[in-house]
Amino acid sequence: MNIILNGSNEEVSDDTHLSDIVLKLSNSSTGIAIAVDNEVVPQSLWLSTTLHAGAQVEILAAVQGG
């Protein structure tokens, strides 16, 4: 199925969990937060959260700024 990951289309398998996507994007899971469809998903739920087709997934990290 297709999801929108940080603004880009991404093809993922139907049983993909949020934790799988984090592993693909970043080598660290600290200092990162995820919103799915504009709702924050706490880190404790990443392992158990699956996605639906068209889900908007935003994965953010702290960067230099301000």
Binding site: T30, G65, G66
Partner: protein, 288 residues
């Protein structure tokens, strides 16, 4: 007695809050942060970039500096609230520097969106440090909705133009009990000292240090400037006067000579200074 900076329910030794934007590298930023002796430093939240090496969050942890996430780059209250929630989740802090800008040319704060976001974030338990215009009335409203600190700009972000309306900052100080942190526009050390002399509780700056030719040296300069300005504010400056006021004791002979040599000029509207009666100069000091 130690002069602690009470912010967000904690007492801090440093009144200088640093930003991290604009630094050429993490190692240069590291040196600057150490030199500044800051205890709180802002970071932004952005989409994960797998190519990024080194973590600003890890650097702050290593230096034992409290991270202050911001909502930089947000244009609406909704964006800012979601960013604050993500920052809380990612960094484990309730603190948020609320920044809702109106456009990317001026980078000036959007007052309506800022106030809306501030009141909602306070209701959600955030410690809100609100970046705002130098508008004393808006500042009063941000305080009323429960912001932990009001952060007026001195001038636009990154402009280095200093404090363009010191009178507004003084007005704000006279009306607010919340901490006021001068944020944005600081160009050099004297700007930071001026902010503190005007009664601000702290200063937040980034570009002035990170874009200086020697960031670590400028960071140290800012540290001293903030301390000097704070001490000057606490010490209470002398009133400005129209005429000189001798700082040495008078000499008897001078007194006689002076009374002969100083006389009223017919065209001058200034009062005569009579050395025989120095108290005569009772004219009120002008406001500069």
């Amino acid at each position: 007695m130690a002069d602690h900076f009470n912010l967000g329910g904690q007492a801090w030794n440093s009144r200088l809050i640093m930003g991290t934007g604009g630094a050429p590298s993490l190692s240069i930023l590291r040196e600057a942060l150490i030199a500044s002796e800051t205890q709180i430093t802002t970071i932004a939240m952005r989409r994960v970039n797998p190519a990024t090496s080194g973590s600003i969050f890890d650097l702050l942890k290593e230096l034992k500096i409290a991270p202050l996430p911001n909502t930089a780059g947000c244009y609406t209250a909704g964006d800012a609230i979601l960013t604050a929630q993500l920052a809380r989740e990612a960094l484990g802090t309730d603190w948020i520097k609320l920044e809702v800008i109106a456009d990317d040319i001026t980078l000036l704060p959007d007052p309506i969106e800022t106030l809306t976001a501030a009141s909602r974030l306070v209701a959600q338990g955030f410690v809100v440090l609100a970046y705002t215009n130098d508008d004393p009335i808006l500042a009063r409203k941000l305080e009323a909705v429960g912001c932990a600190a009001i952060m007026p700009l001195g001038s636009p972000i990154g402009s280095g133009l200093g404090i363009r309306n010191p009178h507004n900052i003084e007005l704000m100080r006279s009306q607010l009990t919340s901490p006021i942190i001068l944020d944005a526009g600081i160009g050099t050390a004297s700007d930071a000292a001026q902010a503190m002399e005007l009664g601000c509780d702290g200063v937040l700056l980034a570009s002035a240090v990170t874009r200086a030719q020697k960031p670590d040296l400028m960071a140290a300069a800012m540290k001293f400037a903030v301390r000097a300005g704070r001490d000057a504010y606490l010490a209470g400056r002398i009133p400005k006067r129209w005429h000189a006021l001798a700082s040495s004791p008078e000499r008897l002979t001078t007194k006689v000579q002076a009374s002969n040599s100083v006389s009223r000029s017919p065209k001058s509207d200034l009062p005569t200074i009579s050395a025989a009666n120095p108290e005569e100069d009772q004219r009120e000091s002008p406001q500069f």
